[in-house]
């Protein structure tokens, strides 16, 4: 029986935005620590298993009906009857010494290749040769098929909470749950996806997105919008054309270490996350002589309680926060960030749900615009960088006895937004994924190093004892 599934307008917009340079796939990088009794040829055995069972489940068996015209008006997902499992599931290896640097280089390369729309648009790479007997999984999937946050949830479901379970199935062999398991009302996660989904209702991207977006922009320019106009972001190397190639860097911290800073300095965990990004970006841009005099601004998705929601539930809104990169002092910078995010959230909380969405839409408009063909470059950036802090699995996960050690997200750089920072929490750690354009940001990996230094600077300035190795 041929499955066929229409795309919703959000999915459609990710196809419409796909170009050779702005690729709309998201990804994740997971590293695993072996159990004492790990077989030396674990990944080879796994590949034998991959070849033996090709009963791939939805949505992993779906491909586009019109792969050569992504914006085809009758675009839909259809089952791939020639599913070629060895195309989608691959083994790779790291050159010596198999350290984080080599892993970053390999994953940067893999993330730079566009997906093949003539097949289900996803790939998984089992990567061997990491130091310490570890291995890694890198996966990528087009945002039109699965968003990053759902990807995390699906991958979590395919892992176990105990080291003893050795029969954990491969994620693409797990049938989708019969219906969404909404037993209780949950707050939405503050992801870019949730934001996009929210503003989608206002826009109807599939029909006249450009017109609707341009109306928002014009309104903001004329200052006649009833809400606060986006801050004017300074020009910076973060906001330029992007090429098709990527650089990726990672950093992991214990949650407790950042919480200690939040307790000493005031503010939330998220404020400290922003302060680390800010300290890192300040040094990064300063070193190349391109630190703007005005502070950089970040756009971030947040959970807010609208004033008119009868159920008392939360909504996801977008705020702009100053990163206070003009401020040399680490503590002063953190204070400025706390003040900025506090003010922005307060403003949002005074709004109705509808107004939150209109406001978020306005803030995100330049990024949405940059996804539409021909629209890029017509508008100034309203912010410099998108930073997301997304909740991930709370407890340690295992894949056949191998402990999941880290989970690093790879989000989407856009035209005009050459850097994306996404942070995922996992088992009392925060995992930073810095993804950017190879040419716009030639030394991107330094951002990961400098974020650690920013944390050390903050700890020192706040008079905290130096922390042990994260």
């Amino acid at each position: 029986m041929a499955a066929s599934k229409r795309l919703n307008s959000l999915d459609w917009s990710f196809l419409a935005g796909e170009t050779r340079e702005s690729m709309m796939h998201v990804g994740g990088l997971m590293t695993f620590v072996p159990p004492d009794d790990a077989p030396a040829d674990f990944l080879r055995q796994l590949m034998d298993e991959v070849r033996a069972d090709t009963n791939v489940q939805s949505p992993w068996n779906l491909k586009l009906r019109h792969p050569d015209l992504l914006t085809h008006p009758l675009q839909s997902w259809v089952e791939d009857r020639n599913f070629d499992v060895e195309y989608h599931v691959r083994r790779s290896a790291l050159p010596t010494p198999g350290d984080e640097r080599e892993l970053g280089i390999l994953v940067s390369r893999l993330h730079s290749h566009n997906l093949d729309f003539h097949r289900p648009p996803w790939e998984v790479h089992f990567i061997e040769g990491l130091e310490g007997g570890r291995f890694a999984i890198y996966f990528k999937v087009h945002h039109a098929l699965v968003d990053g946050y759902t990807g995390i949830k699906i991958l979590s479901r395919s892992m176990s909470h105990t080291a003893e379970a050795r029969d954990t199935p491969l994620f693409y062999l797990i049938p989708p749950p019969p219906r969404p398991p909404r037993t209780r009302k949950e707050d939405p996660a503050p992801t870019l996806e949730a934001l996009w989904q929210g503003v989608q209702g206002q826009l109807d991207v599939s029909r006249s997105a450009v017109n609707a977006l341009m109306a928002v922009i014009r309104s903001a320019r004329k200052q006649d919008h009833q809400l606060v106009a986006p801050m004017q972001a300074p020009l910076s190397p973060l906001n330029q054309k992007i090429s098709r190639n990527r650089r990726f860097a990672t950093q992991q911290f214990p949650v407790e270490r950042l919480k200690r800073v939040a307790r000493a300095g005031g503010g939330t965990l998220n404020d400290v996350v922003l302060a680390l990004c800010a300290g890192s970006l300040r040094r990064f841009l300063d070193e190349q002589g391109s630190l703007p005099a005005q502070p950089l601004t970040a756009m971030l998705p947040v959970n807010v309680r609208p004033k008119d929601d009868p159920g008392g539930g939360n909504a996801v809104g977008a705020i702009l926060a100053s990163l206070a990169t003009d401020e040399p002092g680490a503590v002063q910078r953190l204070q400025a960030i706390i003040e900025s995010t506090g003010h922005a959230k307060e403003q949002l909380q005074g709004m109705s749900k509808n107004a939150i969405m209109q406001f978020s839409q306005m803030l995100m408009a330049p990024m949405l615009l940059s996804m539409l063909p021909g629209a890029a470059g017509r508008v100034r950036p309203a912010f410099n960088v998108a930073i997301s802090n997304v909740p991930g699995p709370e407890n340690p996960l295992y894949f056949r006895g191998f402990r999941l050690d880290s989970y690093f997200p790879l989000s989407i750089p856009f035209k005009g937004y050459a850097l994306n920072i996404t942070v995922v929490s996992y088992a009392q750690t925060l995992n930073f994924g810095f993804i950017g354009c190879r040419d716009a940001l030639p030394h991107l990996q330094r951002l990961a190093v400098y974020s650690r230094e920013a944390l050390e600077d903050l700890e020192a300035a706040l008079g905290l004892e130096p922390a042990g190795e994260a």
Copy 2:
């Protein structure tokens, strides 16, 4: 000083032919055997050296002036002032066990990615993790920048004839020779490139290629051409649309082993090469129930002596040969091939140089047509597969003490021509590179295995002693 170089019309035609599915890059795979005193971190040291010296020489520093419109009327090569050496020169590693199969999988993947036209269109990959302490070099280059045969010559120049030389430079750091070293009149090598170059004079591809080619086709169809019309090739899985993904397989034989067969069976070394391809293709297609009743035909470039050349020099022409795949007997198949190539070459030798070119042009027209946008699928294939047998370096070569063990070419599959077989001779071996579309030819690697079996069948049928391991 800005270098700028116009493209000749042949180079231009390779840009015009570039699509996501039909990529016009060629490549080579070289494996190296270590000396006894090889440093364990040889490739890491090499990468340090790569990063230290970025004085890249022409043509390796040239990129297109109009990368977003390959067929731009003012297209030219310009110097890349931001040359990013670590983009072009890369380290990779093989998963365990690091055998030929894993090497084939990695190189198939690397060859499936299109080149970035915003940079000089070439890449080199140093591949570690091969069995026996060996390493490999895979390189790819767009045919518009360097053709495969020239690529072989340039790489040979960057190697040494002795194991003692340890200062062999990297090929892209060697300045181009001041002028072509034509000290004596050499026969042209019978390559696809030489053929293309030859027919180019007749066509002027850059101006009205479609019209000129269609005239040739119409003439062939009406049977009013004074030369023999192309044989009607049977339909086969080799002649279908291709996807963007490749499979690559390799095989190496001692030249002497094939010569022994040629002596016993009659015919030339090239006839035996064709017989191995024929035996392999017969079994390959038969196993999937798609062996045509009519014999497959191959198009091959050959050296011929035109009747009117006053200097007595050779020209490169194209012939069609039957692969006699309808013939079950190995010796009978070889005999039929010998007869077919003999007849075709005889015919060519009776022609003037001009007529040879017209004839070759006619035979190659469908392949040339398939390179032009919009033209594919309008013509039946005039042959089933292109097979080239190209002379390579005669004596063993070394790179810093590592002995070059094999050199496998990767040529271009086209729309309608899903398989290409190219053979390069090197130091008394013949190196077969089978490159094809991953989807049209799902088990392509069997062709390499079956070519060895075809040789064993021929040896047995001719009553020759079994040969030792090649």
